[in-house]
């Protein structure tokens, strides 16, 4: 047992932080700066972050889910408006499904409520399915059920919808295109593979939430030091201090449980990995909404204006919170993993 980051993992974190700090948005207006986003996108491509789950010669991933989480956290912290979740899950599907890579990056298709990877029985993807990181993606992968398991297939993307998140695009599938087979596919995903991809998606979105919380807290803490009322910085008032302290502690707890979930993706049996990831995701999704709402509250009036970055953190957290399942689905999974099934009676009472 030694859960410290290795030297390589620390170096990866530092290099991701350096990219995000120099090329990520520092203001809401920066989100419209096409030159900056192109530079960030190029840096992300050159870094190889999106290919961390691509296969090595022995079929395993290039890097563990811990490395994925390390990068995701930095991207969330800096509100990085570049694709990562979609391409990472696509790389995992390609690896597990024996599908070759294509030029440019790919993403995946999720169910309409974002809670699971979309499947296309009979080659039909349900209308309303959602495509994360749709902008710029060459194609989106779906799972085509077959007798041998789920085969990786592709949708060619057309439209991209905006979604609540201002830093990452969400495409909405209108059901008008065709699912095509991916040339060269040499395998299929079994239930265990699907479980592991799901665990990866939950750990990855949890890590993004940890970073988003960290960034929101840094923003709000800085404001609380500078903003003065009653002749003193508002950060000197206990009411404000306690809001920020609670936010920080929620973020720290989220960080610890996410670290475990990320490790579990590759180290534990699939069902255990999914249980660990579900616990982390429920914790982080609940925490992140509260932390980002606190960041808005600490900013007062300005926090409720478009120009303040606080709502950009909240918006990102709301989407990450739902990716591969939010609080509800994950609480249910934790219960089921402990063998506690739903009973018929609602309301308060107790066993006796």
């Amino acid at each position: 047992v030694d859960v410290r980051l290795s030297e390589e993992q620390t170096a990866l974190r530092d290099s991701a932080a350096a990219v995000v700090d120099s090329l990520g948005p520092r203001t809401v207006a920066d989100l419209e700066d096409a030159g900056r986003t192109a530079q960030l996108d190029r840096a992300a491509t050159e870094s190889g972050w999106r290919e961390l789950r691509a296969p090595t010669e022995d079929g395993g991933p290039l890097a563990s889910a811990v490395e994925v989480a390390v990068v995701a956290e930095e991207l969330g912290r800096g509100l990085a408006d570049t694709a990562f979740v979609g391409p990472t899950l696509a790389a995992e599907l390609r690896r597990l499904g024996g599908a070759p890579a294509c030029e440019g990056y790919e993403t995946v298709v999720l169910s309409a409520d974002l809670s699971e990877l979309a499947r296309a029985p009979g080659g039909v993807v349900a209308a309303g399915s959602v495509v994360p990181d749709a902008a710029g993606a060459r194609r989106a992968l779906v799972l085509l059920p077959s007798a041998d398991g789920d085969v990786v297939a592709a949708l060619t993307l057309s439209g991209v919808g905006p979604g609540v998140d201002l830093t990452r695009s969400l495409g909405s599938w209108q059901g008008t295109g065709q699912v095509t087979t991916v040339p060269g596919v040499a395998g299929a995903l079994g239930p265990d593979d699907r479980t592991r991809v799901h665990a990866l998606g939950l750990a990855l979105s949890s890590a993004d939430l940890v970073g988003t919380m960290r960034g929101a807290i840094t923003l709000a803490t800085g404001y609380a030091r500078d903003r003065r009322q009653y002749g003193a910085p508002i950060g000197s008032f206990q009411a404000v201090q306690h809001l920020l302290a609670d936010a920080f502690v929620e973020m720290e707890g989220s960080h610890s449980i996410t670290l475990h979930a990320a490790w579990a993706v590759d180290a534990l049996a699939p069902a255990e990995a999914l249980r660990a990831a579900s616990a982390a995701k429920a914790y982080c999704a609940r925490a992140a909404r509260s932390v980002c709402e606190t960041a808005i509250q600490v900013h007062g009036g300005i926090g409720n204006t478009w120009e303040c970055l606080a709502h950009v953190f909240l918006r990102r957290a709301l989407v990450s919170g739902q990716l591969l399942g939010g609080v509800g689905e994950n609480l249910d999974r934790v219960m089921a993993a402990h063998g506690v099934v739903a009973g018929p009676r609602g309301g308060a009472g107790g066993l006796r």
Binding site: V1, D2, V3, R4, L5, S6, Q9, V66, I217, T221, A224, R225, A232, P233, G235, S236, F237, Q238, V240, Q241, H242, L244, A245, D246, F248, V249, E252, G253, S254, H255, S256, I257, L259, H260, A262, W263, A264, A267, A276, A279, A282, Y283, L331, D332, V334, M335, H338, G339, V340, V341, A342, G343, R345, G346, G347, A348, G349, G350, L351, R352
Partner: protein, 376 residues
Amino acid sequence: VDFADSPEEQAFRLRLRDWLEGHNPGLPPSSTSDEYWAGQAAWHRTLYEAGFFGLSWPTEAGGHGRPSVYEVILDEELTAAGAPPRPSVGYLVQGLLRHGSPEVQRRFLPGLVSGRERWCQGFSEPDAGSDLAALRTRAERQGDEYVITGHKVWTSYSDAADWCLVLARTDPEVPKHRGISAFVVPMDQPGIEQRPLPMINGITREFGEVLFDEARVDAANMVGQPGEGWRLAMTVVSHEREPGELGYVARYGKLANELVRLVGEQPHLVGAEQRRDLAWALIEVEMLRCHVSRRLSERLDGIAHGPEGSVDKLLMTWTEQSVGHAALGIGGVAPPEGEDALLKAYLYSRAQSVMGGTSQIQRNLVATRILELPTA
């Protein structure tokens, strides 16, 4: 990042698991009955004598000098076995290790770690709670002794203690933080009276108050130098805030597992609200276990005595109170006579946001010492 065991850790874990099968005393949930406190003292000695306590403390102190992360393994196995948690004396051990002279360490650490000698902690007073440095208990030098007079409260285990780690004012002339010294005072003497304080869940063997009326202590029992008492107190309370030092992961894990078992036996009697509370309790316990693994891993390079304990204390408190709420929902408010452990566990959980420094004090510390917000 590796949450898995090394081969040595795995061998230790299996040996511990094997031993626990034959030695679990089967005590009720922590702090829910006087029977628990009576049994916990024997459990301390059993665990120590089998070589499973003080795993990461120095061998000179009666510990095993193992890497810090062995404490996580101990907590995990105690949880899985439904055994009582490890005894929570680590904060005293850390205080003596950091501030005690070699003589004080040699004299007191082995008895404390082994459980042969029982300790309590005389810090808080009726007029010095959160503002601990306002304490008024005084110690005056008389020859080779100090004479102590004052009133301590919220003194856990004072009824069973052989020794009390007392903070007392030795110099009333200097600013309040600088005039305090710390002593290891023998409890069995005419100048000391201890009285139990029944807690809100009815237990009487935990909480107490201690009155010192010209109690005597050998000057050699001072921990650190005259005036070093405040620094020792800060070391002790910072570790008293750490679930990794207290071993509370096993406390909460045992209770949460018990709740899962009860619900599994009678699923038709438990509603959606209680199941949701139980799910959150399980997740909070999992979070705390992971957090303790992280903190104890950070200790592999040595112990830091920083403000992070306040973060840990709040996470620990939220976990205990979340488990408490699940216990309340599942146990109900009208349990039959003698089957009220869950209700008592809930009531006891309210103390966690007060003991060892209130949650409000922890938030002040996180805000000013970690987030570096300005002080008023």
